[in-house]
Amino acid sequence: MTATQPVTGELGKARRRKEDARLITGRTRWTDNITLPGMLHMAVVRSPLAHAKITAINTDAARELPGVLGVFTATDLGADSISLPCAWQITPDMKSPKAPPLAVDTVHFAGEGVAVVVARDAASAADAVSAVEVDYDELPPVLDMEAALADGATLVHPDLGTNRNALWVFDSAEAGSGGDVEQAIRDAEVVVKRRFHQQRLIPAFMEPRSVVVDPTGEQLTMWSATQVPHILKTMASLTLGVPEHKVRVIAPDVGGGFGGKLQVTPEETVTLLVARRMGKPVKWTETRSESLLAAHHGRDQIQDLTVAARRDGTVTGLKVELLADMGAYLRLVTPGIPILGAFMFNSIYKFPAYRFACTNVFTTKTPTDAYRGAGRPEATFAIERMMDELAVELGMEPLELRQRNWITHEEFPFATVAGLTYDSGNYEAATAKAKELFDYGGLRAEQRRRREAGDPVQLGIGISTYTEMCGLAPSRVLGALSYGAGGWEHASIRMLATGTVEVVTGVSPHGQGHETAWSQIIADKLGVPFEDVEVLHGDTQLSPKGMDTYGSRSLAVGGIAAVRAADKVIEKARKVAAHMLECSEADLEFAQGKFTIKGTDRGKTIQEVAFTTFAAHDLPEGMEPSLDSEATFDPENFSFPHGTHLCAAEVDTETGWVTITRYVCVDDVGTVVNPLIVEGQIQGGLAQGIAQALFEEATYDEGGTLTTGTLADYLVPSAADLPHFTTDRTETPATTNPLGVKGVGEAGTIASTPAVVNAVLDAVRHLGVTDIDMPCSPQRVWRAVQSARGAAKSTSDHTTEAAAGGGLGSIDAQGGAR
């Protein structure tokens, strides 16, 4: 029997993580570490062209190489009749192209798989890939969304008759959640219109994707570096016709995801097909170049916003028109990603009228899908940029403008113009704390001093006051959005004979620290030591039900399922304890792991109850000898973390170089289970959001080739490129779940991008600069300053840059209010 120590206050404790012990010693179980007897290695032959007819595939030379067991095309594998799943039919008339896991006669993006080779080892497979000859007839690439929608455009999928995937509209007048935005614009004293570009990003998780499929057992087993083992299992069954009970999916240690591993990939599908064909275990591990090229990308929108306001700064309407690049195919949730932003453009502000219209467009680029924040960073960026633009237009202090329009803490719960109900929040408190930590007044004074002195290094202050919707998701809402599944989560708890506990969760961590956090939650609930809780996950055989990890949902949905399961354990244990103590259940109180008869010191610990239940010699009449319990939790609402981020950035006007000199954020993620983990999530999120603002962009040349196909070209920042962050919190508990938690995985990314860009612009706004496209590279910043000073020298060499960024051309076209 485990020694019992009274346990209190596990919630909120800065526990060091359980996960670390293996990870800091190299005792890891990445998918690529797996070696099975007789295992074969697969590699993918990929198209170097964006759009082309395949005229011939010659595999003879590859087949003859030593150690090569096979070379397969889509037809060889029967993959030509398979279409990878898209779970989100956003409109009834949405156009869905066939998405075979290997190209059949036409390739639609550079990097698309054309054939696979199977060999005894990875080196032989690599040799065989080099030896496969594919002949192509090149077709024109489709790269620009607006051109793709024009009459006579080359069609990515001619059978669809259009490059338009869908048009999705939300209108507050039609929904009854607000007024008519066109009316608001007509009546407005001030109208500001702007166009922003959300550049294409690459999730760039550190562990490249890897799959091992073992077809030799009764259940076919797939190990995959995935965020979504449960979804993968169900989708493999639906897509490939393998009975669901014949598939087991395991997500072992998974090295980051950020939405990039929220996918049912072509490679997973093909590995499965090849393993079945060969009757042997097969492994596929991608190279980094393959990952950047072929794993799904994120963002990529053109955003047209119109804000209507009164002269006093009160906003009266918001119109959002988006073009969203799907890339060449619809992956698991591709078309729904921009739609997740529909509910967030209005943000924390009381817009009385709102309209959102998103046109999804096919191009011959890598498919897009979830990337950290998924639709919400795009929305937050645009509205926070707009609030600054409106402030400039009105000559108002940007924080004051926000304050004038945000929901005050007395107004919660608040029904928004986008149809959501924000349960709680305190924007005033978070902002006040952030201002103090930042020394807002002091930095504004410094900024004035530098402006007056004409300092070549100017200072800017960027603001981002944001909220986001987390905890995906209430199943009824997903149903209303025509999503293909629910948003519940499952957990079960096993009380072992010796009083230790196994918690089985349906979420699937890949770096978040769920083993630690769930241990704290259950230790707190059951009153057992933290060390006595083991958290199990990521294997559909032991965790049979789950919806996995994405959308900041794990704690706010999966954590609550665990709490509910623990409640059930306690209720069962209460019956046994009452029987043991010969009292009525009503006479017992449960605290710190012990059932005590009220007013006495007589009691039984939960460990004693567990052992008695295990022995089962003497249990209450009709009771099963088990305390084990499970729960499936479906949230009634999203949760709404919020916060205020302030960024100070220096801009060297001589070179365009940007240095972040101070970054302060105060986030309100509700009740905190482990402040260490929360802080880590925020810091990591900030890095990714700042990277969008300053460094990262997936670019294609005019032929449709990805020009950022290695980590030497796609600029993931290092420690030397990022500042120190000052992070703090306010704590307004969520009212829609028993823990009061809100979710923290995406907040830093969502909030930081506009804070940084607003800071850069604020530094050079007085010089006449009105916009700079992301990433705010030194060249773009310098050109914006030059252009504003009327000294721009646009050379013929400059066309590439203008096309890639659209930046400088759009300043003149879009600048100023209309």
Partner: protein, 170 residues
């Protein structure tokens, strides 16, 4: 095939390797040292960092044939007498990892960094880690961990440094 003789984490190995075999693949596939991982193909990410004769290198940019006669320490060879290396402990104490994929390389480089400068400031640490990418943490806690380890290693670090950095395993 070329015969090499190499000491890895305190154990000597003699193997025939193809010249094109990268050190990291030799470590992972022949020796089962899967603690060292591959994160890229352009030597940018640093996830594969090990110590080769006492200096940090990216094991994806060295061929196994080149380490004939050398000593290599991987993340798996840092534990002494059952105790974590102070850098491993500091990474745990400071929550300097999330998914953990970059961690082996990050720890190996951080140890090397303190070998060059046992008393670094924050900027020195950041620059010393410029060849190691992490996508989860935003680096702040990694930097904190290295500074913490530097503090804790101070009294002993100079005397023990050669044996701490090179060779030896449990």
């Amino acid at each position: 095939m070329t015969r090499i003789s190499v000491m890895v984490d305190g154990v000597s190995y003699v193997d025939d390797v193809e010249p094109r075999t990268l050190l990291v693949h030799y470590l992972r596939e022949r020796l089962g040292k899967t603690g060292t991982v591959v994160g890229c193909d352009t030597s940018n990410c640093g996830a594969c960092t090990v110590h080769l004769d006492g200096r940090s290198v990216k094991s994806c940019s060295v061929f196994a044939v080149q380490v004939d006669g050398s000593e290599i320490t991987t993340i798996e060879g840092l534990i002494r007498d059952g105790n974590l290396h102070p850098m491993q402990q500091a990474f745990h104490d400071n929550h300097a990892l999330q998914c953990g994929y970059c961690t082996p390389g990050m720890i190996m480089q951080a140890i090397d960094l303190l070998g060059d400068d046992p008393n670094p400031d924050e900027q020195t640490v950041r620059e010393g880690l410029e060849g190691n990418l992490c996508r989860c943490t935003g680096y702040q806690n990694i930097v904190r961990a290295v500074l913490d380890a530097a503090e804790k290693m101070k009294p002993a670090v100079r005397a023990q440094q050669p044996s701490t950095v090179a060779g030896g395993g449990n």
